[in-house]
């Protein structure tokens, strides 16, 4: 129970930090942070299904997020590329989202098939390569994806569903109503996904998955298809990643080649390791704390450099992300909320 007290205190500390460090517009900062934390938390839950449940190393989550987002956005009305070609017809958003999730899961199947029979580190190499391929192809095939010019004017499909109370709240606290709506939807999805996952975890399927992680040979000996179980888990996590990617682009209101860069994956890993691998709520908590730390690093940059430019801000941020991943993995691999027995650190 002790770790839940730590977690709550940390969460309170984070919220206090946001409101104390910003005199004006703290509500705006809060909504912005909570939106990003939600998106990253959802993505981290996806990686957690891979790594925490099944022991699969996925370092290409940006590709799963990206393919889900691009598929969805291309299926709804949008405006594309350098000339801003307007495509005014499209599917209704919920159906487009379903296609987006299917696309992410299919990419998972495609990458999983050659690698899941091999040792774990091959998957790490292949997924990191897939994220790079995805980025290069998105950049290169401008007719389809808009390339570096990207896709714009698609957020109306989501904002038409915005209920009135969101506007009431946003005018009262002077925050962006569009972003608040994305934040609410993201956190509702997180709760729903966690409920579904906790049911799945207790189901026979979830237990078989844990057994695969603990001892693959034993599962095989019992007549279960371990590779197929791993593939299913890989596709599930990929689809969750796709959902978070969709929310990410609706938060930005645009999507370009630079939205889903490979480093995005490392941010999400840092959030996951902070919150706790293997725990259900850990990734979401980790994402909140992570974003508060990122906000805090900018003040470290100001201590180190007189007037930090964008390059120095990014540099300090990532130095700290790298350190966080290393130190937590070495000294507290179970993060804030994880269980040590759920982690297989001695996997060879």
């Amino acid at each position: 129970m002790n770790k839940y007290i730590t977690a709550s205190l940390l969460l309170l500390g984070c919220i206090a930090y946001i409101f104390l460090s910003n005199d004006t517009g703290s509500a705006r900062v809060f909504v912005n942070l909570i939106t990003f934390a939600g998106v990253y938390g959802l993505a981290a839950i996806g990686i957690n299904v891979h790594f925490g449940w099944t022991g699969l190393l996925n370092f290409g989550h940006a590709a799963f997020m990206g393919i889900g987002a691009y598929t969805t956005v291309l299926l709804i009305p949008h405006s594309l590329g350098r000339e801003g070609v307007i495509i005014s017809t499209g599917l209704p958003l919920p159906i487009a989202i379903i296609f987006g999730l299917i696309a992410s899961a299919l990419l998972g199947l495609l990458l999983g098939l050659p690698t899941l029979r091999l040792r774990g580190d091959y998957l790490a190499i292949v997924t990191i390569a897939a994220a790079e391929i995805f980025r290069l192809l998105v950049r290169d095939f401008e007719n389809l994806t808009g390339g570096v010019y990207g896709i714009i004017q698609f957020s109306d499909s989501l904002q038409v569903y915005r209920p009135n109370f969101v506007d009431v709240i946003s005018t009262k606290y002077d925050v962006s109503s569009a972003q608040l709506w994305v934040a609410i939807l993201t956190w509702i999805s997180i709760v729903l996904v966690i409920i579904i996952l906790s049911r799945l975890q207790k189901s026979p399927w979830g237990r078989a998955l844990r057994a695969v992680r603990e001892d693959e040979d034993a599962v095989r000996a019992l007549g279960k298809n371990a590779v197929w179980l791993k593939l299913q888990s890989f596709m599930l996590g990929a689809a969750i990643g796709g959902l978070s990617g969709i929310f990410l682009v609706f938060n930005y209101g645009t999507v370009q080649a630079s939205t889903f860069v490979p480093v995005l994956t490392f941010y999400i890993w840092a959030a996951l390791i902070l919150g706790g691998v293997g725990s259900l709520g850990g990734p979401a908590l980790g994402a909140i704390i992570f974003w508060v730390i990122i906000a805090g690093t900018d003040s470290i940059s100001r201590l180190l450099f007189e007037s930090p430019d964008g390059q120095q801000l990014a540099g300090v941020r990532f130095v700290i992300v790298g350190l966080l991943i290393m130190l937590f993995m070495i000294f507290r691999p179970s993060g804030i909320l994880g269980k040590k027995e759920e982690l297989l650190l001695d996997v060879k």
Partner: protein
């Protein structure tokens, strides 16, 4: 297509050297070192730092004064520093992890963190813009139908000599044989009296020096930038997988093939206007190899499952 062959040979040598260093370290320690690219970049960044004089107004070190010593002297110093850096990584980071029975997966995540950390340290100390070593400009000349500058020919020859030396070292010296013994079976190696901690330390030093050298020739051929190691790392992975992860000569061969193929693909008709996609092609090839022959061309089956 033939006009790309010169560039292909150059990239091939870079990736072959990088692959053999990565593969050797993997073979002996079972660590998939994602920070390998950053050690490659360290060699180049250090050489640039030592060889440029403070008044040469480099873009790269716009905040820190470079030192300005002889170019070949700086290469030697940088390679030695890379070796020392590799040794300290092993002594202060990876050896304690090994003694505490950290699994390969956990160590892999640690190397990812290390790679992000180091890369952005370079970014903080340098500029985001690429920069070149201070060397005289040379015109391309014709060598048997391949267009190359004289310096690039020297680099090419030097690269091949180093590869041959690495091969001789692994095949004929006592340390090289011990490395291969630990790679094949560390238990059997310890039974015959090989000190595996010592061999792993030597492997880290050797692999890091080789990586530093790779970075320097990459810097001579192209340019020096803070993320050069990360960009080349994925191609090195592709080369290593093609040749067989854990093999030395296989990795050399695979790396060379990947480098040449990546450059030659620029000349293909359907690649016209898609120059960025050449790396995607190499990475796609790697995934394809994993599908049909996961142990690579020269690998053995027991290394992969």
């Amino acid at each position: 297509m033939i006009e790309q062959l010169g560039n292909g040979l150059l990239l091939g040598v870079i990736i072959a050297l990088g692959s053999v260093a990565l593969s050797l370290l993997y073979g002996v320690t079972r660590i998939v070192n994602f920070a390998h690219g950053e050690i490659i970049a360290l060699g180049a960044v250090m050489t640039l730092f030592f060889s440029s004089s403070p008044d040469s107004s480099l873009l790269f070190f716009d905040r820190y004064s470079p030192i300005g010593i002889n170019f070949f002297g700086s290469i030697v110093i940088s390679i030695i520093l890379c070796g020392i850096f590799g040794a300290s990584l092993e002594i202060f980071l990876f050896r304690p992890l090994r003694k505490n029975n950290f699994g390969n997966i956990a160590v892999l995540v640690v190397t990812i963190g290390l790679s992000i950390f180091l890369r952005h340290i370079y970014l903080l100390f340098a500029s985001a813009k690429p920069s070149s070593f201070i060397l005289e400009l040379q015109r391309r000349e014709d060598y048997f139908g391949i267009q190359l500058t004289p310096r690039n020919v020297q680099v090419l020859v030097l690269g091949f000599i180093v590869m041959i030396l690495v091969g001789l070292f692994l095949t004929y010296t006592k340390t090289g044989k011990a490395m291969r013994a630990v790679r094949d079976s560390s238990d059997l190696a310890s039974v015959t009296g090989i000190n595996s901690d010592y061999i792993i330390l030597v492997t880290w030093i050797f692999s890091s020096m080789l990586a530093g050298f790779t970075g320097i020739i990459q810097g001579v051929i192209n340019n020096v930038r803070w993320n050069m190691g990360f960009l080349i790392l994925l191609l090195i992975f592709a080369g290593t997988v093609l040749g067989g992860i854990g093999t030395s000569f296989g990795a050399m061969f695979g790396g060379f093939v990947i480098g040449v193929l990546v450059q030659l693909s620029v000349g293909l008709e359907f690649m016209d206007g898609h120059t960025e996609a050449k790396n995607a092609l190499a990475l796609g090839l790697m995934i394809l190899i994993l599908l049909i022959r996961p142990q690579g061309i020269f690998g053995t089956k027991d290394r992969i499952s």
